[in-house]
């Protein structure tokens, strides 16, 4: 009897060290602020606008922070800012529908994502989408190592089979190079989405700015609005030159995540599916902007850089680029 009990106990002890059968490894990121939407309210001597920013916890896939207060918001721009109001609101879920995912293949990811988190994060995201959502995975660059320009796609048709696109997805890191064709690729993605019914989303992961596309950001916005495509942009890099990206996402109802490093990219992808499927609890702020150059005209593009301070960790979150067109 004793002889039987000893190996049984031993096996139980050892089995306890094994992880649960379900669940996959979690990739930790930094807490990340993401711009969700904005709109102009009134225009006079001052320009009053509203913006929604969501702060995603880096150590989870569904927790957001809402503890920021007015003094934690620091706007930078050509003028003075006063935060009139800051509240926590719940926005309705964003239906994801059919999705085109475009990955920037230009240049090198040596500084933006040296450990190639992007492949596994996109893999995670496509698995998160589940069988009910069709997606099309593509990549873009010019004069690089892709077979087609401005964008090539891993499959000919939309699919919900995440496993089927994995070989293509994980082959992409070995084919980086060339220059960015971001806007032309976005037009290509929107064109692909025209053929599908229901909600349409274009998700772009970029780390380089466009200098060679035939299309402009306004062409992208026009095509997206015409075809009812929401453009979500995750950009890894600094704030320089990102105004057009903020504009595209805002004008098409998308989100704009300006990631300082791969750590913010990780957090954004970790939360992406929840952002698509569940109500979003955001920091809703109303801001009065007094331009240094005098009153603004109607229909003017304005860009505002928000630095959100984390009062608990006493650090700043990644910057948030907010685009608002004056009414």
């Amino acid at each position: 009897m004793k002889i039987r009990i000893i190996p049984l106990l031993l096996s139980l002890l050892v089995s306890c060290n094994l992880p649960p059968e379900s669940g996959r490894i979690f990739f930790y990121g930094n807490d990340t602020a993401v711009e969700i939407g904005s709109k102009g309210i009134s225009l006079g001597a001052d320009f009053v606008f509203e913006a929604d920013v969501i702060v995603l916890a880096g150590n989870s896939r569904d927790i957001v922070y809402t503890y920021a207060e007015q003094q934690d918001l620091l706007f930078t721009g050509d003028g003075q800012y006063v935060v009139n109001n800051l509240s926590v609101v719940e926005l309705s879920p964003r239906t994801v529908g059919s999705t085109v995912i475009l990955v920037d293949q230009s240049g090198s990811y040596d500084s933006a994502d040296a450990m190639n988190y992007r492949s596994k994060l996109i893999n995670q995201f496509t698995h998160d989408l589940g069988n009910a959502t069709n997606f099309l995975l593509g990549a873009f660059s010019s004069q690089g190592n892709l077979n087609l320009e401005p964008a090539e796609y891993g499959t000919t048709e939309f699919t919900s089979d995440s496993d089927a696109v994995m070989p293509y997805l994980f082959e992409l890191p070995s084919r980086v190079g060339g220059i960015s064709t971001l806007y032309d690729a976005m037009i290509s993605g929107i064109d692909r989405l025209r053929s599908v019914s229901g909600s349409r989303t274009l998700l772009v992961l970029a780390h380089d700015l466009d200098s060679v596309s035939i299309a402009s950001e306004n062409d992208v916005i026009a095509a997206a609005v015409l075809n009812q495509v929401r453009v979500d942009i995750i950009y890894v890099g600094n704030t320089k030159g990102t105004n057009p990206l903020a504009k595209i996402s805002q004008q098409t109802g998308g989100l704009f995540s300006l990631c300082s490093s791969d750590r913010e990219m990780i957090t954004t992808f970790n939360h992406l599916n929840v952002l698509y499927e569940q109500p979003m609890v955001t920091l809703h702020m109303q801001v009065k902007f007094t331009p240094a150059s005098g009153p603004l005209g109607s229909g003017v593009d304005t860009f505002h850089l928000l630095t959100l301070h984390d009062p608990i960790a006493d650090t700043d979150f990644n910057p948030v680029m907010i685009f608002v067109k004056t009414p």
Binding site: L10, V14, L18, P19, Y109, M115, N116, M166, E171
Partner: protein
């Protein structure tokens, strides 16, 4: 499991009644030449969102893992034949190296190290040559039931990066290289005997079947064993000599 135990029991009972000599001993084995091989080009684990490239399925000394075995032996001699049952405890490690693509000109090599405690129950038969001598040799072969318990699964790279588990799952090779399910090994070997006192053998072991269903993995091991037979029958000890 029950079947193996029954076979072993019957062998012992029949052997003792029919055989000419029944020996009991202890065995030590050290396996250092190993091959871990996974069929295909890539591994997509079920415990993370990684995607590994298979780069090394070669035989290796030490670096593919090691095994240390200690056990007892019950051996029945019948003319030139002998039958042995060798219940053992084995500390078994495997190292398997895969790569993960980082960019167009670089990839990260990751080594998965699995450590298992396992109970082995080999049953094998051998045929002795030159049995009229004190020094003789034999060929043997059989099967083994293995009851494994994975006690650790770790990973490391050449840079001994301590943050490796931020990117890769330590259990990514579960259901690829290991499970906690009972499995079978086949074994063959050549033994060099000194009378009925001790035996040195070189044995080749191959896992029968694969741990997982998706990926076909094979495990081959070559090791050295030393078996010492206890002098429990020393007063009646007879060495079998061929007529």
């Amino acid at each position: 499991m029950k079947r193996a135990a029954t076979i072993a029991f019957l062998l012992c009972v029949c052997g003792i009644s029919l055989g000419q000599n029944f020996n009991v001993g202890i065995t030590f084995q050290y396996h250092i030449l190993k091959q871990v091989s996974v069929e295909g080009n890539t591994i997509f684990p079920t415990s993370s969102y990684n995607y590994y490239n298979i780069i090394d399925n070669n035989w290796k000394f030490f670096s593919a893992g090691q095994s240390i075995v200690i056990g007892v032996v019950g051996q029945l001699d019948y003319k030139r034949l002998y039958f042995a049952f060798e219940p053992s405890f084995e500390l078994n490690t495997y190292d398997y190296v895969v790569s993960y693509s980082l960019s167009s000109n670089s990839a990260e090599k990751i080594s998965f190290k699995t450590t298992m405690m396992q109970y082995d129950f080999p049953v094998y038969a051998g045929y002795q040559f030159g049995s009229s001598n004190l020094l003789r040799y034999s060929l043997f072969g059989g099967i083994s039931v293995v009851v494994p318990f994975v006690i650790n699964s770790a990973l490391y790279n050449v840079n001994t990066d301590t943050k490796l588990t931020d990117r890769y799952g330590a259990y990514d090779m579960r259901d690829v290289l290991y499970t906690n399910e009972v499995y079978w090994n086949g074994l063959v070997g050549i033994g060099f005997h000194y009378a009925s006192l001790f035996k040195v053998d070189i044995r080749y072991t191959r896992r029968l079947g694969s741990p997982g269903d998706v990926y076909k993995a094979t495990f081959n091991t070559v090791g050295v064993g030393l078996t010492y037979y206890l002098p429990i029958r020393i007063l009646k000890q007879k060495i079998y000599y061929e007529n």
